[in-house]
Symmetry: C2
Subunit: 461 residues, 2 copies
């Protein structure tokens, strides 16, 4: 791992060792290529240390206790509140105390050379890392990810706002937090922090939280967060932020204002395209990188992009998926196909309570795409399985059927712990399994997967 | 509902108002037919009162507390044991205190006539119920279910053994229970009773519990039950049973014996074919009813059978599924198809902890069918999702790939709460989604559905 030459040659240089970069490097190395990976922060990427993993660690204890309280006979054994210190200690374990050394053997075993530093293109098939030049015989893969978007709100940058990084790694929780943005990060952080006793105010400029998802999902999550005590201000935007000695004050455009100990900016992420040396290969420095299905970009046969940087579907799972396609393309295998669960239609889960799990179209994107769909709504817990899981909680399963083609084109599930129920929908959508065939796929009794029966019954009529 | 004529004519007469009979009656009534249903016990059937529903009620509290104890930060809030009185009270609610009146409106709304009593054939298209004769213009559907098998073990019948009925409805739990039979009922009852503090001894004649499932499933469930304190005796059969004043003594053929307060017989179920008047239509009184895919039986164009009575796959979900096929056949629609998740390959779940969820072939049935399969094993919690669900527990996901056809033909999942993960496998198996296409169905991160990634990675190599 001591790679100190001024100049080195590899088959493939991957810039960025997040989930996408690592997986691409792994596949390529396993195929026998000499692979280098460049990382200026932590091997494992945002997801492992400051996003998916720690956020789920903060969410899970509240989720499991809420469910235990819904089960008679178990409820009485659940006493008191969450043990915040234990939750944070577990979080520290899950992110390996922000030490990425546990990830290095994975690279080592595959013979992948790690260069620590900022990697940027300095010409065709050439990458510079802190003065060293790496030549890539076959390909350069850009997988540098994204950064939190901090919009030009008066005083926001000066107020040293939290991003997902501080929210996921805080050593001590503030007594109060104002969250700007009701997307996935804003909603999950509000849910987690509230479950740990923090006073949370959630500010969302749109009329709804989770504005990309089905309206019923937004409504159910909003109601649940309100019930949990989150102060939700929708249709309001921050116009100014000021930090005083020990407080942050946020002024809203609806005339209101909010004070809290900290302010979290959760207003989306920006692909980190600047500083990559794109101009050295004839691309604009701040180009929007719009790769083809196989990840190839800029009309250059040796340049690939994947992960958040490609602006397509900023999810760990999609970065890992696309890493496989990119690796195949580098290896000369053509495996990329168009299908109904990619880009904005990619599978996605919000780990709130109720959770929101969706794949493919929503009614809005279907309409925008000019699809005529039949909409079938089913209560997620309106079946025998719902007696035992998420009893009495809100939840809706929406199936969108393209009747002309006889296939499902979108599914949104809301309810307690529905995340694992999503993959059945993803297989049905991606596999284009005919509805007439789905009828023979029988969900086991008594599980909540019987939502599928109600879909098929509705289509019988 | 006051149907008192000596003679009545309907389009269809369904004998048995369990899940299969009810669903068939419902579909037929919704299609505009005049439907009668005959039930001598409870509308809703075994499943609602004495099987799936109460057994899951007894299992769920222990399951959710065990999981909460695995989650740091939540674990400390779980104190003490299950509240058995609360569990039993919930159980009573779930089985509606053995009162089926709540099920009657469902029949009423569909215009289905209920006859209470024992229904039996008295000639072609004629059914007698306590002296009344019902004529069926189009079809008779036999859906009378099964009864617990009580084998001729010396003294067993005289010892008044428990069956699933007593085990699921006991008003008071015995201090100790000996369970004969390590199939689904035996395993689930052992798990539930042990979680409620009962001393349980489980006796299974085969070398393994759950002998139909993959051997690793049996081993993991055996180990977990042992850890929970169940005394498991495999490879031992009861040869004699004696009840004394307040104990039952079971003699085993391995020289041992067991004493307990009660003995549960969980040695399978027998289709209840006797007493159905089969001889009146030219069939043997105790015929094994082996219907075609559409449920038609005995070469008679008007006679159908479904549910446990057909001996194919004694599960509520398969009875409901087959009810749809039978209803379609009666209506002249041909919807039955052969597929890879029917009969002994039907989806099935054992609600132990770990759970066992399977569909399609096991390695044994695949070998028996002469299939060459590639076996891919993945630890169910060996992924990011496993950090949050079932952490540290045993679990294996086995995928059987028919490489010649490029499709999955069997999946067995073991682990904590894997039941909802099964339907993805069922859709893949029944839909015959090509493995090359499954690769594009991306499981959301961080969920345990990432077991699918490991399958696809393994097949890449």
């Amino acid at each position: 791992m001591d790679a100190t030459p001024e100049r080195a040659v590899h088959d493939v240089v991957v810039i960025g060792a997040g989930p996408g970069g690592e997986v691409a490097a792994g596949y390529l190395a396993q195929a026998g290529l000499d692979v280098a990976i460049v990382e200026d922060r932590k091997v494992g990427g945002e997801c492992s240390y400051w996003a998916c993993m720690p956020s789920k660690t903060l969410l899970r204890p509240g989720e499991v206790l809420a469910e235990a309280r819904r089960v008679p006979g178990a409820a009485a054994s659940v006493s008191g509140e969450l043990d915040t210190a234990a939750v944070l200690a577990w979080r520290d374990d899950v992110v390996n105390h922000l030490d990425d050394s546990a990830q290095l053997p994975w690279l080592d075993e595959r013979g992948i050379t790690l260069y620590r530093g900022w990697g940027r293109l300095v010409g065709p098939q050439r990458v510079e890392v802190d003065g060293r030049v790496l030549e890539a015989r076959r390909a350069v893969v850009l997988a540098g990810g994204s950064t939190p978007t901090v919009p030009p709100i008066d005083g926001l940058a000066e107020a040293r706002p939290w991003t997902n990084r501080e929210a996921t790694t805080a050593a001590r929780l503030p007594a109060s937090l104002v969250v700007l943005g009701g997307g996935v990060v804003g909603v999950e952080t509000s849910q987690a922090y509230r479950s740990l006793g923090v006073d949370v105010t959630l500010v969302e400029g749109e009329r709804h939280l989770l504005p990309r998802e089905e309206e019923f999902a937004c409504e159910q999550v909003t109601a649940a967060l309100r019930d949990a005590g989150v102060d939700i201000r929708t249709g309001a935007r921050a116009t100014a932020v000021r930090r005083t000695a020990d407080r942050v004050e946020v002024t809203l455009d609806d005339g209101g204002s909010v004070e809290a100990d900290e302010v979290l900016v959760a207003l989306g992420r920006t692909p980190q395209t600047t500083g990559l040396g794109l101009e050295s290969v004839g691309l604009a420095d701040d180009a929007t990188l719009s790769p083809g299905l196989d990840g190839r970009v800029g009309g250059l046969p040796w340049l690939y992009v994947l992960g958040d940087l490609d602006g397509r579907a900023p999810f760990t799972h999609m970065a890992k998926y696309r890493a496989g396609l990119v690796a195949d393309a580098v290896l000369g295998r053509d495996t990329a196909v168009r299908h109904g669960a990619d880009d904005e239609l990619a599978p996605r889960v919000v780990f709130s309570d109720p959770q929101v799990a969706a794949v493919g179209h929503t009614t809005r994107t279907a309409a925008r795409a000019g699809l005529e769909v039949r909409v079938v709504d089913v209560p997620t817990s309106g079946n025998a399985g719902g007696t035992f899981h998420g009893a009495g909680t809100a939840g809706t399963s929406r199936f969108l059927v393209d009747e002309a083609r006889g296939v499902l084109v979108g599914v949104t599930l809301t309810g307690t712990e529905v995340a694992e129920m999503l993959h059945a929908a993803t297989i049905a959508v991606v596999g284009e399994v005919p509805i007439a065939r789905l009828r023979h796929a029988v969900p086991a009794f008594p599980t909540r997967s019987e939502i599928w029966l109600h879909l098929l019954d509705a289509l019988r009529e």
